[in-house]
Amino acid sequence: MDIQTWTFIIVGLTFVLYIGIAIWSRAASTKEFYVAGGGVSPLANGLATAADWMSAASFLGMAGIIAFSGYDGSVYLMGWTGGYVLLALLLAPYLRKFGKFTVPDFIGDRYYSNVARTVAVIAALFVSFTYVAGQMRGVGVVFSRFLDVEVNTGVVIGMAVVFFYAFLGGMKGITYTQVAQYCVLIFAFMVPAIFISIMATGNPIPQLGFGSSGSDGVYLLDKLDGLMMDLGFTAYTDGTKSTLDMFMITAALMLGTAGLPHVIIRFFTVPKVEDARKSAGYALLFIAILYTTAPAIAVFARTNLMETVQDTPYNNIPSWFTKWESTGLIAWTDKNGDGKIQYAPGSAIDGKKPLFIEGNGAYGQRLISNTSAGKNELYVDQDITVLANPEIAGLPNWIIALVAAGGLAAALSTAAGLLLVISTSISHDLIKKQFAPTISDKTELRIARLSALVAVLVAG
């Protein structure tokens, strides 16, 4: 079976699973809608938090960023996980102790101020809308790449699915779908990583594999450093950013991560403060599985790319290269006219994206109009790393389809968490607390569902 059929089957099955869970866990009261009744076990909450927290960027983007920036990419690894430590030690347990539904609730009550509450609501809405739009874009891109539909159609399908279970189940539905989504995404991330690690080094654990040696007895990282320096790059393990840049970017990422509203809200769902702490621990453990694998994938992918393309005649290039070239995410411009690919530092093109023009070059390659002056002939969009990696390693089609389903799980779970923050902020913090304190639980629940609908439409 081809990749597209496999993707239809696997993505379809996961969607059926998510919707089934949503129907099974419908919310009947506002407490169930906002915080899943406050009765989620720490382990389930840990799994759900991990899926909530890991967005399309963690799943699809991060390994690629690290692959093309080497040591510099460490800022994302340390920044995002380190920020989570701040959240778990300094924020989550205290907010849980206060015993309210939302963060604006805490701020409004603690400082006896409705103005402060409104500012918190606006901040939460602003963060959530910006972030949810990015997730939806990720869903659209996966759909368009693998199922041959327009990006916008993909966004609409994704929105419909998320809306369905956020609308029905609220936090309760979202929590249990996120548990399922974590399982899908971690399986989809680890299976190709394990296969590739075995192929590259014989070690099935990617975290150890990228510090091992290949069949030639040379350590993989030493080999990659050597390959890069031969072509004029800085060594992979050294990086190019100054210590001050590394320090400040990491700090910025940490502080931003510690304040993510959809992650904080998750700690209101467990019965006790003790459970809030415990689930924070489980969540980081589950996050760390992906975050320590990503740099391994990065090293395998970069080594693989450099060994495959460097000085290879375009006519002998493997089929994944031309396939991604046809999507415009890889481009080759034969500057010295020798028919071989030369990879060097600097961009092969002027501007951000290659501008393709009609017609093909002497070797059948797609022609571009914005060739740059430097020596580098190869343009690779770093975002394809995770999606292309299984193909580059020659893994079977069902694994490639699985990666697509994993990317969708990562994006949908984050989007659902954010949508809930939006609808809770509107129905609870704005309408119930500010305008109409007398409304019944049932009306509030109806308003919460209605704001989820509005949020989906606005974000889409």
Binding site: S74, L77, M78, P93, T237, F247, G281, L284, A288
Partner: protein, 84 residues
Amino acid sequence: MNSNLRKKYWQSNLSYVTILLSIWFLVSYGFGILWVEQLNRIRLGGFKLGFWFAQQGSIYVFVILIFIYVRLMNRLDKKYDLDR
């Protein structure tokens, strides 16, 4: 709980967080960024040690830190009868 006990509880809470966050700072900003070049002269198998801390070690330590925090705080809650 009277205010004296509450103060003691809060002090232990703060000292736990301070110690744990010092380790948090040391492994990420310290080993992974500030002293990365010095540590890179030491090898851990195929890894340079500084690079390893930046991309692997710091994350492992973070996970351990949170679990230590959970243990310490739950024990503290029990000691002061706050675990309900």
